[in-house]
C-alpha cells in the first residue's frame, strides 16, 4: 500500500491550495490600478453625452468650453474621424450578420442615451467637467426604438437605414422532426421567459491612459483590460501605428468579468486625443458613465417548449430567442455570441435529439449588449432547467428523478449535442448524485413539507449545466476577428537560479499568476517561491489570447506546462554536459539537479546557471546552453473543452412581501484537473453570487424613451453580504485528454446555473399557491404578481 498522494511528490503544486503571492500587495493598499496612475504632463478628459436615445446632431458650440480655465482641447466626432478608421462589429461565421460602422465619437447622430459626443480635455478632471458643462449641442430628436417587437415590425423606424432593418442577425437550427415529435408527445410544457438587462458593475470602473509620443511614434496605453493584445491590434490598425510601436499595459484591474474586453468609444477616443495633444490623456468612467456606457448583458425574451413521452423521456425542444443588443454589434467580438450560445446550449445536458431554434438579434436605441461572464449560459440553463422542472411537475416525478432519467449517461461519451457541440467527457450523473448527498435532499424535502404546514414556504431548486471553456480558433479566429486562441510563454532561468515566466494569460485577481507559478514549479522542478510570473504587458509577454471564455488555466496553463518541460530539457542537457552524465538519467527537484534513479542531489540549479552565464569557458566545446525558452500552445482536438456540473438552491419565500431569503447554495462542478482548489472554489462562489444578482436584484431599467432610470449604485441593486448565503462546493474531476495538464475552465460555472437553480427554487416555493414566475430578476413585485397578490 502506498499511502502517499500525488501531492507528496517533490515540487507537487498542481492540486494544492496555495494562496496568491500577489494578493498581499493588494491587501496592503499597494495595488496599482490604472485609476491610480499619474504620468508626467498627463491631462484628463470629460465627455459631453447625449441626453437623447436617438437624435440627429444639428450643431455643436464648444467655443465657451475652449476658453475655460485649464482646457487644452475640445474634440468632436469629426476631429477624431480624421485620425481613426471606423470599425464594424461583425464576424464572417455568423452568416448574414450586419452592423453599422462605428467611430470614437458620432459625427451625425446619436443612437443611445448617454453616448459620448464631445471630448473636453483639461489639466484636471474637474476642470474638464466644468468646461464640458458649457458645451452646447443642438439635437433633433428621432423616433426611439426600444421594444424588441416594435423594432422588427414593417414600417418601424430603422436606426441604421443603410442596413435596411433593425435585425442584426437571424439564425436557425433545425434537426428536423420537431413538429412530429410535438404532435405525438404525451406531454408538452411551454413558457415565455424574460431576462432583463444587467451589467458588470466592476468595482473599479473602466480606466485608460493613452500616451502618444510623436518623437518615437510610440503609443503606450495603460488600460484596465483583460485582453491587452487585442487592444494593441485594434489601436495599431485603426490609428495606423505600426504594431511594434503600440504597447498596451494592463496592470492591476479592479474587476472585469468580460466587460473590459470590448472596444468602447470613449477609450478609442482617448487614444486619438493623446495623438492630437502629444501628451498622456486619462479617462476614468464615473459610476453613472459606467452604467450608460459599459456593455450590458442578457436581454432576452425566450419562448420555449419541451416534449416528453409517457415514460418521462424528454424528446424535443423548440425555442425562439429574441435578444436586443443596442444600436450596433460590439467590437471586435460581436454581440451575436451571446444569442448564439443561448440557442446552441439549450438542452445540452440531455439526451434528446430533436431540436429547433430561432434566434433573432435586434438593434434598438440602448447601450451595447455583449459578452459578460457566462455568455448565454444562464439563459439556456434557466430555460432548459425550468422546462425540465415543469415536466417533473406534470409527470409527477421528483426533480432529481426526471434529470437522472434524461441526462446523458456518464459512459456515453464522446458524443455530440443536437446543436453540434462535441462533448469529450462529462459527468452529469456523478455530479447529480453528489449534489443530492451534499444537500441531504430527502431531509430538505421532509422539512419543507413540515414547514409548509406552519406557513413557512421554502423552495428547493436544482439546475444542471454545461459550460464552454478552452475555446479554439472556431470561437473568434474563423470569423475573421484578430483574437488569438493560442497563448505564449517565455521562461528564463536567471543567473542566480530563479525563474521568470512571462505569459500571455492575464491576471484579474482570479489567480492566473499563482496557478502558472504552480505549473512551472511542478514541471520544471523548482520551489514556487523562486518563480516570478509576469503578465499584462504586450511589450514583454508573447502574443496570446489572454483572459476570456474560461481559457486561462486550460490553455495558458498548458502553455506554461509545455514551456517548462522544454526548459527542463535544456537545463538537463547542459547539466549532463557539466556532470558528464546522460541527461535522461538526471532530473530536477527543488532546484537541484538529481540522479533520476536514486534521487541523489548532484548539483544545484543555481550552480548550473552560474556556470552557463559566467563561466561558459568551462563548458565542453560546442555547448550553447539555452536557459530561456519561448513556447506557444494552440488548442487542438476538441473545439471547446466542455465542463459540467449541477447547482442546488434552498430559499425561503415570504409570500406576504415577495421577499426571498436565500438559505444555501450547493455546487458540484467538474472542471477537469484542479490546479488550485482554493482558487477554484472562490471562482465558483463569486460566479454564483453574480448569478444570484441576476436572479433577484440586478436590472438596467429603461423607460419607453430609451432612458436608463437606475444608473447609480443606490438604484441598481447588487448582491450584498447580508443577502448572500454560504455556498458549499463539491467536485468531480474529469480531466480533458486534449492536454497533458487536463484542466478546463471554471470562472463562469457559478454564474451559468445559479439563476436557474434560484428560478426553480422560487417556483417550488410558490407551487402550493399555483403561481409561477419566468422572469429574471425575480423582484418582490414580480413574485407578488405571480402569487396573484397584486
Amino acid at each position: 500500500m502506498n499511502a502517499l498522494t500525488s501531492l507528496d511528490r517533490p515540487n507537487s503544486y498542481i492540486g494544492r491550495s496555495v494562496p496568491r503571492p500577489n494578493a498581499k500587495r493588494l491587501l496592503a493598499g499597494r495595488g496599482r490600478y490604472v485609476t491610480d496612475f499619474v504620468l508626467p504632463r498627463m491631462l484628463h478628459v470629460a465627455y459631453v453625452r447625449s441626453p437623447y436615445a436617438h437624435a440627429r446632431i444639428v450643431s455643436i458650440d464648444a467655443q465657451a468650453a475652449r476658453e475655460m480655465p485649464g482646457v487644452k482641447l475640445v474634440a468632436t466626432g469629426q476631429d477624431l474621424a480624421r485620425l481613426c478608421t471606423p470599425w464594424v462589429g461583425t464576424m464572417d461565421h455568423f452568416k448574414g450578420m450586419k452592423s453599422p460602422p462605428q467611430l470614437p465619437l458620432p459625427v451625425d447622430k446619436v443612437v443611445w442615451s448617454g453616448q459620448a459626443v464631445v471630448a473636453v480635455v483639461a489639466d484636471t478632471r474637474a476642470l474638464a467637467e466644468d468646461a464640458a458643462e458649457t458645451v452646447a449641442i443642438e439635437f433633433d430628436e428621432l423616433p426611439v426604438v426600444v421594444d424588441i417587437d416594435a423594432a422588427r415590425m414593417p414600417g418601424s423606424p430603422v436606426i441604421s437605414p443603410e442596413l435596411g432593418s433593425n435585425l442584426c442577425f437571424h439564425g436557425k437550427i433545425d434537426t428536423g422532426g420537431v413538429d412530429d415529435v410535438f404532435a405525438n408527445a404525451a406531454h408538452i410544457v411551454e413558457e415565455e421567459f424574460h431576462f432583463g438587462r444587467h451589467t458588470a458593475v466592476t468595482m473599479e470602473p473602466r480606466a485608460i491612459i493613452a500616451d502618444y509620443d510623436a518623437s518615437e511614434q510610440q503609443l503606450t496605453v495603460h488600460h484596465a483590460t483583460q485582453t491587452p493584445y487585442q487592444f494593441q491590434d485594434i489601436y495599431s490598425r485603426h490609428y495606423g501605428i505600426p504594431e511594434s510601436r503600440v504597447r498596451v499595459i494592463a496592470p492591476d484591474i479592479g474587476g472585469s468579468f468580460g466587460m473590459k474586453l470590448h472596444m468602447y468609444h470613449e477609450d478609442m477616443a482617448v487614444v486619438g486625443l493623446s495623438i492630437m495633444l502629444g501628451r498622456p490623456v486619462k479617462y476614468v468612467a464615473d459610476r453613472i458613465e459606467s452604467f450608460v456606457s459599459d456593455i450590458h448583458a442578457r436581454d432576452h425574451r425566450v419562448r420555449a417548449r419541451m416534449a416528453v413521452d409517457a415514460d418521462g423521456e424528454i424528446l424535443a425542444m423548440d425555442v425562439e430567442d429574441v435578444t436586443a443588443i443596442g444600436a450596433f454589434s460590439a467590437y471586435p467580438r460581436t454581440s451575436v455570441v451571446e444569442g448564439n450560445q443561448v440557442y446552441r446550449l439549450m438542452g445540452a445536458p440531455y439526451t434528446f435529439r430533436n431540436y429547433r431554434a430561432d434566434l433573432q438579434v435586434v438593434f434598438q436605441n440602448k447601450v451595447q449588449m455583449s459578452q459578460y461572464r457566462a455568455v448565454g449560459h444562464p439563459i439556456a440553463c434557466a430555460v432548459t432547467e425550468r422546462l425540465v422542472d415543469m415536466i417533473a411537475a406534470k409527470t409527477a416525478r421528483d426533480v432529481f428523478e426526471i434529470r437522472s432519467g434524461n441526462l446523458i449517461p456518464d459512459d456515453a461519451y464522446p458524443c455530440t449535442s443536437p446543436t453540434g457541440y462535441q462533448f469529450e467527457a462529462l459527468s452529469h450523473h456523478a455530479c447529480l448524485a453528489k449534489l443530492r448527498q451534499m444537500m441531504d435532499y430527502d431531509r430538505l424535502r421532509a422539512e419543507q413539507a413540515q414547514l409548509r404546514s406552519k406557513g413557512i414556504h421554502r423552495g428547493i431548486g436544482i439546475a444542471t449545466f454545461v459550460e464552454i471553456t478552452n475555446p479554439g480558433p472556431a470561437f473568434y479566429g474563423v470569423g475573421g476577428a484578430r483574437i488569438s486562441s493560442q497563448d505564449g510563454a517565455i521562461i528564463k532561468i536567471t543567473p542566480s537560479g530563479d525563474v521568470r515566466c512571462l505569459i500571455s494569460v492575464t491576471e484579474l485577481g482570479q489567480g492566473t499568476e499563482t496557478i502558472i507559478g504552480q505549473i512551472v514549479a511542478e514541471h520544471l522542478g523548482v520551489d514556487r517561491n523562486r518563480i516570478k510570473v509576469i503578465t499584462g504587458d504586450t511589450e514583454t509577454t508573447p502574443h496570446g489570447g489572454a483572459t476570456y471564455a474560461c481559457r486561462g488555466a486550460g490553455i495558458g496553463g498548458e502553455t506554461a506546462l509545455q514551456a517548462a518541460l522544454k526548459l527542463k530539457a535544456n537545463v538537463l542537457s547542459v547539466a549532463g554536459a557539466i556532470l558528464q552524465e546522460a541527461s535522461e538519467k538526471l532530473d530536477i527537484q527543488n532546484g537541484w539537479i538529481i540522479d533520476a534513479a536514486t534521487m541523489h542531489p548532484r548539483v544545484e540549479l543555481a550552480e548550473i546557471a552560474r556556470i552557463v552565464y559566467f563561466r561558459s569557458d568551462t563548458l565542453p566545446p560546442g555547448t550553447q546552453a539555452q536557459l530561456s525558452v519561448t513556447h506557444h500552445y494552440a488548442p487542438q482536438g476538441y473545439p471547446f473543452a466542455f465542463t459540467n456540473g449541477v447547482q442546488g438552491c434552498h430559499l425561503e419565500l415570504d409570500v406576504e412581501t415577495g421577499l426571498v431569503n436565500i438559505l444555501k447554495v450547493w455546487v458540484v462542478e467538474d472542471c477537469g484537473r484542479i490546479i488550485n482548489p482554493l482558487l477554484v472554489d472562490e471562482q465558483i462562489r463569486g460566479g454564483v453570487v453574480q448569478g444570484l444578482g441576476a436572479a433577484f436584484f440586478e436590472e438596467c431599467a429603461y423607460g419607453d424613451n430609451g432612458q436608463l432610470t437606475n444608473g447609480s449604485l443606490a438604484d441598481y441593486l447588487v448582491p450584498m453580504a447580508v443577502e448572500m448565503p454560504d455556498i458549499e462546493i463539491g467536485h468531480v474531476e474529469t480531466p480533458t485528454l486534449d492536454t497533458q495538464l487536463g484542466a478546463k475552465g471554471v470562472g463562469e460555472a457559478g454564474t451559468a446555473a445559479a439563476s436557474a437553480a434560484a428560478l426553480n427554487a422560487v417556483n417550488d416555493a410558490m407551487a402550493p399557491f399555483g403561481g409561477s414566475i419566468a422572469q429574471l430578476p425575480m423582484t418582490p413585485a414580480r413574485i407578488l404578481k405571480a402569487l396573484g397578490h397584486i
Binding site: P19, R20, A23, K24, L26, L27, A28, G29, R30, G31, R32, Y33, T35, D36, V38, A126, A200, V201, T202, M203, E204, P205, D252, I253, G254, G255, S256, F257, D286, R287, L508, G509, Q510, G511, L678, L679, E682, R685, G686, G687, V688, V689, Q690, S712, L713, A714, V718, P719, M720, A721, V722, M724, D726, I727, G750
Partner: protein
C-alpha cells in the same frame, strides 16, 4: 469655488498642511494630493464602501466628506493601518483564505473589519455579513471575507483570554 483653502490634518501619523479646493472630496484629496491610492472610489455616493477611511476613530466614507471638513482631524488609511500593523492579522487571514480577488474593494473591507473587531466579543456570521453590507464586492461572493473576519475574531478572542490567564497567573 475652486480657490484653494489651507487645511491641516494628521494623516497616518504625519501632519499634513496644504491648500485644497473646497469641492475636493477627502477621497480625491487622499488619492490625488497625498498619493494614498489604497483608498478607492467605486460609486462616489457613499454606497460601495471602497473609500472607507478612519476619521477621528470612526470609519467614514471619504467620498462623502470634503477635504476641508477634515481640517484638524486624525485620519488613517489602509496604508497607515498597514504600517503600524494594526490590521496585520486581518491581512494575513484574507490572504490565506483568498478573501479577495481584484482587491479593489479590499481596503474598504479591511476598514469595516477593523471597526467591527474593535468591538468586544466574537461577532456571529450574520453579524459579520450585516456589518459588511456597506461594502460591495463583485468578485468573491463574500463568504471568504466572512470566513477571514470570523477567523481573526476567534484568534483575537483566544489570544485575549490567554493573556488574561497569563496576567492572572502572574
Amino acid at each position: 469655488m475652486s480657490e484653494p483653502i489651507n487645511v491641516s490634518m494628521t494623516v497616518n501619523g504625519s501632519r499634513v498642511s496644504c491648500g485644497v479646493e473646497p469641492r475636493s472630496t477627502l477621497a480625491d484629496f487622499l488619492r490625488q494630493t497625498l498619493a494614498l491610492t489604497g483608498t478607492h472610489t467605486g460609486c462616489e455616493m457613499g454606497v460601495c464602501g471602497a473609500c472607507l477611511v478612519v476619521v477621528d476613530g470612526r470609519v467614514v466614507h471619504s467620498c462623502l466628506m470634503f477635504a476641508v471638513q477634515a481640517g484638524g482631524s486624525v485620519i488613517e488609511t489602509v496604508e497607515g493601518l498597514t504600517e503600524r500593523a494594526a490590521i496585520a492579522d486581518l491581512q494575513d487571514a484574507f490572504h490565506l483564505r483568498n478573501a479577495l480577488q481584484c482587491g479593489f474593494c479590499t481596503p474598504g473591507m479591511l476598514m469595516t473589519a477593523y471597526s467591527l473587531l474593535s468591538q468586544p466579543g466574537i461577532p456571529t456570521r450574520d453579524e459579520i455579513r450585516d456589518a459588511l453590507s456597506g461594502n460591495y464586492c463583485r468578485c468573491t461572493g463574500y463568504e471568504a471575507i466572512v470566513d477571514a473576519i470570523e477567523n481573526v475574531a476567534r484568534d483575537r478572542d483566544a489570544a485575549s483570554i490567554a493573556q488574561t490567564r497569563e496576567e492572572a497567573g502572574a
